[in-house]
């Protein structure tokens, strides 16, 4: 899967889970600070990404990912 597809699917999942306007989801957008993810939603987001990409992520490390582009890179690491 190429980065563009990962990015597009990350944006889609983020918009669904956080219930934000897709236009707000820029690569540098911070999940908590710019998109308003609280701690519960952060966990929901990790679960949704795992389901979307059919992967199992290290939760501790996943929670350290703060931005949309960071999430794309992190997920890409699991899809190599």
């Amino acid at each position: 899967m190429d980065k563009a597809e990962i990015k597009s699917r990350v944006e889609k999942v983020t918009a669904q889970v956080l219930k934000v306007d897709p236009k707000e989801i820029t690569p540098t957008a911070n999940f908590a600070f710019d998109l308003g993810a609280d701690s519960m939603q952060s966990i929901e987001l990790i679960a949704a990404f795992e389901e979307e990409f059919n992967i199992s992520m290290d939760e501790q490390k996943a929670r350290e990912v703060q931005t949309v582009e960071g999430a794309v890179e992190f997920i890409a690491g699991y899809l190599k």
Partner: protein, 710 residues
């Protein structure tokens, strides 16, 4: 200039009296901290403007929300951060860009969670420094200001407390909520209420200094779990007490002895952090409380009533038993039962029934109604021999609780002496207690608590009126001589000064060391002993031997040159057998003092409070009973005298069981000289003079043995 001083010069006014507040990271989920904080500000009628800042909400509680603080068109005085800790740095950075100078960081997930949190905390501290932002927290409940000019409830406490004159500062947020609930039930109001959490920027010292000048605050209460700047805390407390007469009560938790376990000296092992804290608070005039209840018992006494001028109390009761209980409790708190004047006694005779006890405690008898309490209370409060009054009521079938409570409030309110009440019981007396609490008469269920509260108020008064004692200066102190010994020992990589070197250091500061010499041969020992004058004591000197008695390296009471020669040889034989590898420097010969009481003096360096001086009676009293007293240096003459008098075995020195009193004045001087030494020679970590032999009054005292750790 300390960090605290720098922040004290910053503007804390905007934390308590902001004209505009932004809540960063709020949301619309009722029952969550981000929402409740915002809702509390709205609900409790904040007098300024409040802006919700929420990344994805257009409004919160009907108020238009902004995505970023930078989007708010007007200036913001105070930012309250409720974002997850991972992004508080981003939020604070924007606060800096917006020009905000004050913040409260509620979010948890900082220093308290370990290395990752410490890193985050350092990051927000750096941002605050960059933009000159003062902030409370992180990891806190928030701030409440009940002043009608502000009415700011920037906290997630369930309720805004009623207005009052007590300020409460707490390192624990959870405790704050319990305290608010406790205080509400007792009609206790607050001026300011602050949970300061990790105190990464604004700490208790900064807040106390602010409260010093807060006209709404009369009494300051602090709950602390750790003291990072003990000296700073003592200084600010003294400043507040002396300059504004506001009492300070601190509940310090964590009474641990663990820190003392590894200490190398007697002083080190006895001066645990809690004992030092006790001594330091007492010196600074801080009332140390052991429970929340004790703290509020004293706080209401100080906030509601005049400070007592003395310890003579009158007890007015409608029952004999509680009067006796109160008397016992008063005496246990070192109070005195007042002796009534003839005039007061005459009034009692005329106004009270013949069966009444008109001596203190005054028993107005079980059928007493409000009029009888009024006469007894009014007369006692008028009597010049009475400093304060305790009113006790037990609910008997004829007791008119409500009216008596009203009368007690009215009568006490007419005088400038303190009056406290104890309506004993619970259910029947509740109506009376409620009246007392609402009309700000300190009430206590138990007479014991009442007496303790009075004693605390009296402690405050006595310290408020005391003049600070500076370190006494002494002529002839030779600091360079002492510093030379220390420098040379440290240069040789030693962290321990043996007795002969310790003596040089002590002598340089005028402590009364005994004539002594170091002998390196039997002949030298015989000659030196004769020169010093008999009797003498001989002790082994070796860097490898600290406990000389354990290797039979000491011979006492040597009374001739021949005996000195023999002692010299026997010591070397004993040491060779017990510790063959020890490198021997020689044998120390010292004048022996035959008569006197053995006491111990010591120095310990506390990481928070600095140099601490210890005093105690020697032998069993120190080893078993730990009967010692402490003061933080500098120790002046008054404090030195108090240190001696406050040990339980003081009478041994003062002349118990027909013995002559010992030279207490000489010990007082030693304590002060030791305090000077501790301040001037910071390289000394611990020091023991054990024993100091105290002769009869006027005959001085002598250092018989000493050791110093560097």
């Amino acid at each position: 200039m300390s960090e605290s001083t720098v922040f004290a010069q910053k503007d804390l006014e905007h934390v308590f009296y902001p004209k505009s507040v932004a809540v960063l990271g709020t949301n619309r989920v009722v029952g969550t901290v981000p929402y409740d904080i915002f809702a509390n500000i709205l609900k409790d009628s904040f007098q300024g403007i409040v802006y919700p800042v929420s990344p994805k909400e257009r409004s919160v509680a009907g108020v238009r929300a902004y995505k970023y603080i930078l989007d708010i068109p007007d200036p913001v005085d105070l930012a309250i951060l409720v974002f997850p800790s991972t992004v508080c740095n981003l939020a604070l950075e924007q606060c800096g860009q917006k020009g905000v100078k004050s913040a409260i960081i509620i979010s948890a997930g900082f220093r308290e969670i370990g290395p990752a949190g410490i890193k985050r905390e350092e990051e927000i501290k750096a941002i605050a420094q960059k933009y000159n932002i003062s902030f409370i927290g992180p990891n806190c409940l928030g701030v409440i200001n009940t002043d009608p000019l502000s009415r700011l409830n920037a906290s997630f406490a369930r309720k805004m407390p009623q207005e009052g004159s007590i300020a409460f500062l707490s390192q624990s947020g959870a405790l704050c909520t319990a305290v608010l609930d406790y205080a509400q039930a007792k009609h206790i109001g607050f001026s300011k209420f602050v949970s300061f959490g990790n105190k990464a920027n604004i700490n208790e010292i900064d807040l106390m200094r602010y409260l010093k000048n807060d006209p709404k605050t009369k009494v300051i209460l602090v709950y602390l779990e750790e003291i990072t700047d003990g000296a700073g805390l003592m200084n600010v407390a003294r400043e507040i007490i002396r300059e504004t007469g506001k009492p300070i009560l601190i509940l310090k938790s964590g009474r641990t002895r663990e820190g003392a376990a590894a200490a190398a000296s007697h002083t080190g092992s006895l001066a645990g952090s809690d004992e030092v804290c006790d001594a330091a608070f007492r010196q600074a005039g801080i009332i140390r409380c052991t429970t929340i209840e004790e703290m509020f018992n004293a706080a209401i006494a100080l906030a509601y009533q005049p400070v007592p001028q003395g310890k003579r109390v009158a007890i007015i009761t409608n029952a004999g038993g509680p009067g006796v209980l109160a008397t016992d409790a008063a005496i246990a708190q070192r109070l005195e039962l007042a002796k009534f004047s003839e005039q007061t006694t005459e009034v009692f005779k005329k106004s009270l029934p013949a069966t009444a006890n008109i001596k203190n405690p005054v028993d107005v008898i079980g059928d007493a109604r409000a009029d009888r309490y009024k006469v007894a209370l009014g007369s006692a409060l008028t009597d010049p021999g009475v400093d304060g009054v305790f009113v006790i009521l037990t609910p008997q079938s004829m007791t008119d609780i409500e009216n008596i409570a009203q009368e007690v409030c009215t009568t006490i309110g007419k005088y400038d002496k303190p009056g406290y009440a104890s309506f004993m019981g619970e259910k029947d007396v509740a109506v009376g207690i409620n009246i007392l609490q609402q009309r700000s008469i300190p009430h206590y269920i138990l007479p014991e608590s009442m007496c303790k509260a009075y004693a605390s108020a009296l402690f405050f008064k006595e310290h408020r009126d005391q003049v600070d004692e500076p370190q006494a200066e002494f002529v002839g102190v030779n600091k360079p001589a002492a510093a030379d010994v220390i420098r040379s020992a440290m240069g040789a990589g030693r962290s321990y000064l043996p007795e002969e070197e310790s003596n040089v250091v002590l002598k340089a500061f005028g402590l009364p060391t005994l004539p002594s010499a170091l002998a390196r041969s039997k002949d030298e020992a015989m000659k030196m002993a004769g020169d010093i004058g008999f009797p003498v004591v001989l002790k082994i000197v070796s860097d490898d031997i600290i406990h000389k008695f354990d290797v039979k390296g000491v011979v006492l009471d040597v009374r001739s040159a021949e005996a000195a020669g023999e002692a010299y040889e026997s010591i070397l034989r004993n040491v060779a057998a017990a510790k063959p590898d020890a490198k021997i420097k020689g044998v120390f010969i010292q004048k022996m003092v035959m008569r006197g009481e053995e006491v111990i003096l010591g120095v310990k360096r506390d990481p928070s409070f600095g140099a601490v001086i210890m005093f105690g009676l020697g032998g069993l009293f120190v080893e078993v009973f730990k009967d010692v007293s402490f003061r933080v240096a500098p120790v002046g003459p008054r404090a030195a005298g108090e240190m001696i008098r406050e040990i339980r075995a003081y009478s041994m020195l003062a002349g118990a069981r027909g013995k002559k009193p010992r030279d207490i004045k000489a010990v007082e001087e030693c304590i002060q000289r030791l305090s000077l030494l501790a301040l001037e020679l910071p390289e000394i970590k611990e020091l023991d003079i054990n024993p100091l032999i105290v002769s009869d009054e006027g005959a001085g005292c002598y250092v018989a043995d000493a050791r110093i750790m560097l």
